[in-house]
Amino acid sequence: MLNAFLFYFFAILAVGSAILMVTRRNIVHAAVFLITALLATAGIFLLLQAEFLFVTQIILYVGGIMVLFVFVIMLVNLDVSLQLVQFSRQRYVAVALAVVLAVQVLGAFWVGRTSVGAGPAQAIEAKNTEAVGQALFQHYLLPFEIASILLLVAMVGAVVMGKRRI
């Protein structure tokens, strides 16, 4: 009951702010709405009892990546860009194609509607963080290392990109 209420609250919040994010003319507003959407997503995670991911989502996405976005937006923010046309020439084609894609996915849902349900009610372990840590550092150690290397490379790349003279 409460679960359902929270879910719909978060879902509507996420979808609404996502739509606003895509349609806003002002980039900063778009960023703020994206942040809202991300926070709503974090709420969804919390509902799914993934506390660690909930926190990670907030710290990394909202507290890190989006700050970066806002930072860059403020660096490159052009008032003239507010007056320009916001959508590209291919918008109608694009929307049409997206709708086609959506229809296909819905079809997929329709095909598999019978198999999705409450699912096997697993006894969710209380210590989510420990479980994630175990999985991350034991079973997924190699991907973890690869991800760390990826981050290193990304960092170097960002530094190079950020240099005044490339």
Binding site: V28, V32, E51, I59, G64, V67, V70, M74, L75, T129
Partner: protein
């Protein structure tokens, strides 16, 4: 106290009650921290500071709050009204939200999340938006620059501070604030004894995160009028102010919980009881402190010039007496109550000590240049904190595998880390922000 309060109330009513209390008290505390700041600054500069409103300016914060409340509220032209309204609320709200997971005592805690610390970090990291959006929304160059600076600064120092905390977390073995404190109780020593370097890193990082001097670049009055707060006035400005001081208390609480043993009394493992009772000697200290405070105030009463001030002073003395009585009475109450009340006292005492350190730094250190700030963060603190984390992990493994005493292994590794720190400091000297020198030819 579980036996005398039904669980339903414990689950739903108490947290709300705590929340209300926090939200109600916090602005008052913030105001008095401001007063404390002004007094300390005056003392360090051989002045008196506020003396007029109330005896020794004791009522100054209230007066300030009233003044700010009734000030005209200006919204600059072409400002983004929505953002302009939202930003201060955001910064205060996030600061308040962070208190949800802070344990002021064994029981005095809104919610004991098992990712409590991460939750606090996450929420306080959201406070950035309050500053950035506010600076952007007020449509002014000073504000925008301040916002950008603070964004860069916070992102830079969050990493170092978080890693500094991790070194303590490794010893604690848990993310829940409560169990962290209990871990310190079990070990018998506060974690500052295990990871002093980590504590130092977090100290610096937290100063930078709260935009306090010497890292107050975002509101450097000598460069950008007031940084992101330039266009704000009146109540919104007061909200920003409140947010800043609330943040100070948040970081102070985190430091207290992770490094300074939270609500634990000093020498918590040192048991010596009154004959025939289970009350420990050192537990009298709080009530004694308040008793002395009351005596001091009473001595000050007759010196006040005006009658009203004498009355206020007397009232303060009475308050202190009451508190001392409460502390004393708690000794006789059930252990749970005693632990709760004294825990709150010790916790707040440590928090204020930490904040006093903040004030001290502010009045003694000159402000950094921005490139120096960045260099300190990226080229000294972050490498050092990484080394510190690794060293701590090694220390834990050593103490577990070879049975070496944890404190000993930890301190050995800390010494090594200090060596690294010295090397980093020496290496960080060369100017990173200057133009490359022209290589003189043959």
């Amino acid at each position: 106290m579980n036996h005398l309060i039904p669980t339903a109330i414990q689950q739903y009513v108490l947290p709300v009650l705590y929340g209300i209390v926090i939200v109600a008290i916090l602005p008052l505390l913030a105001g008095y921290i401001v007063l404390m700041e002004r007094k300390v600054m005056a003392d360090m500069q051989a002045r008196l500071g506020p003396m007029r409103v109330g005896p020794h300016g004791l009522l100054q914060p209230i007066a300030d709050a009233l003044k700010l409340l009734i000030k005209e509220d200006i919204i600059p032209e072409h400002a983004d009204r929505f953002m302009f309204w939202m930003a201060p609320v955001l910064s205060v709200g996030m600061a308040l939200l962070a208190y949800a997971a802070i344990p002021f005592g064994p029981v005095f805690q809104v919610a004991d999340l098992n990712v409590g610390l991460l939750f606090i970090l996450a929420v306080s990291s959201l406070g950035i938006y309050g500053i950035v959006l506010g600076g952007w929304a007020s449509n002014s160059h000073y504000s925008l620059l301040g916002a950008l600076r603070s964004a860069a600064q916070l992102v830079s120092y969050e990493t170092a501070a978080g890693l500094g905390l991790v070194s303590a977390l490794i010893w604690a073995g848990s993310l829940s604030m409560k169990s962290i404190v209990e871990a310190q109780y079990d070990r018998g020593d506060w974690f500052i004894a295990y990871v002093p370097v980590g504590f130092f890193i977090y100290l610096v990082g937290s100063i930078a995160e709260t935009n306090r001097a010497p890292f107050d670049l975002p509101e450097a009055e000598s460069e950008l009028v007031a940084g992101y707060m330039t266009e704000y006035s009146g109540f919104r400005w007061a909200l920003y102010f409140l947010g800043e001081y609330a943040n100070m208390m948040v970081v102070a609480s985190i430091a207290t919980t992770l490094f300074l043993g939270g609500w634990l009394r000093p020498f918590v493992r040192y048991h010596d009881h009154f004959p025939g009772t289970s009350v420990e000697l050192l537990d009298i200290v709080p009530s004694l402190i308040f008793l002395f405070a009351a005596a001091y105030c009473l001595r000050l009463v007759p010196r006040q010039p005006v009658k009203i001030q004498r009355m206020v002073m007397a009232a303060v003395a009475g308050l202190c007496l009451v508190l001392s009585g409460v502390m004393a009475a708690a000794l006789l109450a059930s252990p749970g109550v005693m632990a709760g009340i004294h825990g709150a006292f010790w916790f707040l005492a440590k928090v204020f000590a930490y904040i006093y350190g903040f004030l001290w730094f502010r009045f003694t250190f000159p402000r950094y240049r921005f490139d120096q700030l960045m260099r300190l963060g990226w080229r000294f603190l972050i490498p050092l904190s990484l080394v510190n984390v690794i060293a701590t992990a090694v220390a834990v493994v050593v103490s577990e595998e070879w049975g070496l005493h944890p404190l000993a292994s930890a301190l050995i590794m800390q010494v090594l880390t200090l060596g690294v720190a010295l090397w980093l400091a020496g290496r960080g000297e060369e100017p990173a922000a200057r133009e490359p020198q022209v290589a003189e030819g043959d």
